[in-house]
Symmetry: C2
Subunit: 120 residues, 2 copies
DNA sequence: GCTGTCGTCAACCAGATGGTTGACAACAAT
DNA sequence: ATTGTTGTCAACCATCTGGTTGACGACAGC
């Protein structure tokens, strides 16, 4: 809708209902009606949310009779993570803490347990 | 201001001017007037942007006489990256592409070790 | 003391956003 | 062909957002 692709992605995820929709779609595809159930909002509102997510490239919709199954486009997340990592690392480096950050990231990937409070 | 912390962070970064401010602050601290120069907006507008970034926990401001040096709080980025990675990995896993994703991430870290300039 | 600079606060405005309700298109089922 | 289900479109409304201008507070220098 408005602005550049990166702005659309960030704006799309700035709403808790839309983040929740993304969370549910990460489990598996779903229809609009199915997605609308848990929230206290109308189906039209959810349809709008899905349009925002679709414009951001985070969701795609196909056809199945009168249903519109929604599918999460996970690749779009990289647009954000690339931007974030770039400036986070740059800032961390200014404090000479780059090594600690990289170590924490490696730890995060190799093991799935919660992170240690090494950052400070 | 509005909503939960995660929404505030995403909303703060949904604006290109604010992302640009973050990019500049990743190079080093700066005053409000100094940050306002490159954009065709008033100092008051930039002051508002900084308030949004501060409310999101992405920026902190100290005092130096009548100046208010702005400082990037890089740790707050983790709030986002954690959320993003969680659902991205979950979605990728559904396609059996988890191995490829993890490989790409490892590659990203090893290249970062030889830092700056290459990441342009 | 005045004067100038840096920044915030307050009021205002146009446009976007998130929600509602009502109408309707597309398809399935009877 | 009529009925029911699924979802979108359109209009409307309240609130938020990003910008403006004007006034003011805090501080440095004359």
């Amino acid at each position: 809708m408005t602005g550049d692709p990166l702005s659309r992605v960030f704006a799309a995820l700035a709403d808790p209902t839309r983040r929740d929709i993304v969370a549910r779609l990460s489990i598996g595809d779903a229809t609009v009606g199915h997605l609308a159930e848990p929230y206290g909002v109308s189906v039209q509102a959810v349809s709008k949310h899905l349009k925002v997510l679709e414009d951001a490239g985070l969701v795609s919709r196909s056809r199945d009779a009168q249903r519109r199954p929604c599918h999460l486009e996970a690749e779009t997340f990289e647009l954000m993570t690339k931007w974030i990592e770039r400036y986070r690392l740059q800032a961390e480096e200014r404090f000479g803490r780059l090594d600690a950050v990289l170590a924490a990231m490696d730890d995060q990937h190799t093991t799935h347990h919660h992170h240690q409070g090494a950052a400070s």
